[in-house]
């Protein structure tokens, strides 16, 4: 602090409290709405404080879902989302750590070309090449499967670059020592590189889990069988179906449940999350 200005400090606190309130408002309103019944909204606007129907609404959605919208129970969609998010996060980490190891610790023909092929994926977000990618996945018979949901999304230039940076900072002396002791490349990888990149892997996992859980367009396209719906994509189908009849309390209960796992991960692992966020942008 440069000078003591109580007025400015007070203003800063006011700005922050107001900021937190604005940021939290949509979620508060969704939560409040999810604890009422449909008839509570008919009076005009939604109430400001939670009502008594919290457990009733949530357990109804978890167990049976909203059958009129053709979506399965929320519990099942959350399970699908969990499987997809874990497959994407773990898959991305495995293939990226392997390819970074190959690029940093080996010299082979066409090494640069391989590097550029990985780099180019940065410039091809799925939204941009959506139609042909869908055709490829359909041609491979991967529609309505966990493989179709996750495999097309697990190539990752960002993760490969991150591990490349990490490996480049590991001193050559370690590699030399390992080689003198007779360790082959895979033993070196397993016993030295992986333990040394443990925190980077954890930080990346937090970011990638959120990325995987929040996927929307891709699951929407590749799942037509409702038993593979994910919660983030399913909620839109639900909101569409209820637009006519006001079932907003149930849609908001689903929205709260869709937010809960990734938000819990961010709050519980805030340090790793910030580390992952900053590192993946380098």
């Amino acid at each position: 602090m440069i000078e003591n200005r109580p007025g400015l400090n007070l203003l800063a606190h006011l700005v922050l409290i107001l900021g937190v309130a604005i940021v939290a408002m949509p979620v508060w309103i969704a939560f409040v709405a999810s604890t009422h019944t449909a008839t509570d909204f008919s009076s005009g606007t939604i109430p400001m404080w939670p009502g008594p129907h919290l457990i009733e609404n949530y357990s109804r959605m978890l167990d049976s879902g909203l059958s009129t919208s053709g979506t399965p129970p929320v519990g099942m969609m959350m399970l699908n989302s969990l499987v997809m998010a874990l497959m994407i996060a773990i898959g991305k980490i495995i293939i990226s750590v392997l390819s970074a190891f190959a690029i940093v610790y080996f010299r082979f023909p066409l090494r640069n070309l391989a590097f550029w092929c990985i780099f180019i994926t940065l410039m091809l977000p799925v939204e941009v090449r959506i139609v042909p990618t869908f055709q490829v996945v359909a041609g491979l018979g991967l529609l309505n499967s966990y493989a179709g949901l996750s495999i097309p999304l697990i190539a990752s230039a960002t993760a490969t670059f991150l591990f490349r940076q990490v490996f480049l900072t590991i001193p050559d002396e370690l590699t030399e020592a390992a080689r003198i002791d007779g360790a082959g490349p895979m033993k070196f990888f397993r016993d030295i590189l992986l333990p040394l990149s443990r925190t980077n892997i954890a930080a990346l996992f937090v970011i990638l889990f959120i990325y995987g859980w929040n996927q929307y367009l891709w699951p929407l396209l590749v799942t037509t069988d409702s038993s593979y719906y994910t919660i983030v994509a399913g909620i839109k189908r639900m909101a569409d179906a209820v637009d006519g009849l006001p079932q907003w309390h149930l849609v908001m209960a689903t929205a709260v449940m869709a937010m809960l796992p990734p938000v819990a991960v961010v709050i519980a692992m805030q340090k790793l999350f910030v580390k992952g966020l900053v590192e993946t942008e380098k």
Partner: protein
Amino acid sequence: MKRTIFRNQLLPWLLLAPQLAITFIFFIWPAAQAVWQSFLREDAFGMKSTFVGMANYWRLLDSPEYLNSLQVTAVFAVSVTILSMGFSLLLAVAVDRMIRSAQTYTTLLVWPYAVAPAVAGILWWFIFNPTIGILPYLLDQVGYNWNHISDKGDAMLLVVIASAWKQISYNFLFFVAGLQSIPASLREAAAIDGAGPVKRFFTITLPLISPTTFFLLVVNIVYAMFDTFAVIDSTTEGGPAQATNIMVYKVYFDGFVGQNLGSSGAQSVILMLIVIALTVIQFRWVEKKVEY
């Protein structure tokens, strides 16, 4: 560059195989398909396609709908970027003054990052719902009749707010990091020379965080152009009357709903060129990271 390396020749290819296979099958091959399709035109029944050269592109650039989409995308991206970055910078400057409570405020501000764009869209769609939403009710008290289902401006405002809200935590974290990297001695020197807080902000703080600002500018534009598909699809679906039909939404809509593969392919190629340009800008920034 490593001095110590392993000499195997086959092993690196085996290690790279999964990454390269997925990249080829799901990234490079479809992208090449998009480029190829952009030069073709299918007949009305989708039975055969003929090579038409650049015709799909010329037709796009002639189409008022596409030009409208370009304009909508520009307005949308600039609004989201300015709103989200402005709000985040204000919060970051305020947190930078805090000593004991900084951590608490940060925790309370970072979690929207984890909310899916589709869910963010649904939340704001509900808040702005013309019949039961809380904000239209308040706006009605001051005499404004909010209706994002029929009013173009209201619809645009809705998707801008929902998209900017989601991005606040990201911008906030990077601004806080940028502010904390400014040496306190600089601000102290300015304070001794008699510069007040406002003057210090504009002559010292703002210029010194300009690398962060520039980086966030690129990231936010990329976000607004490509990652907001879910916000649009879960709320306005491009309407009313194309008012929120941003380019990524139009690629999807023309390809899947309109089944116009040639036009959708040409739009994909234009978008790829934009991403490539933005990625190059971003990487040049990383290389030339300004140091003080």
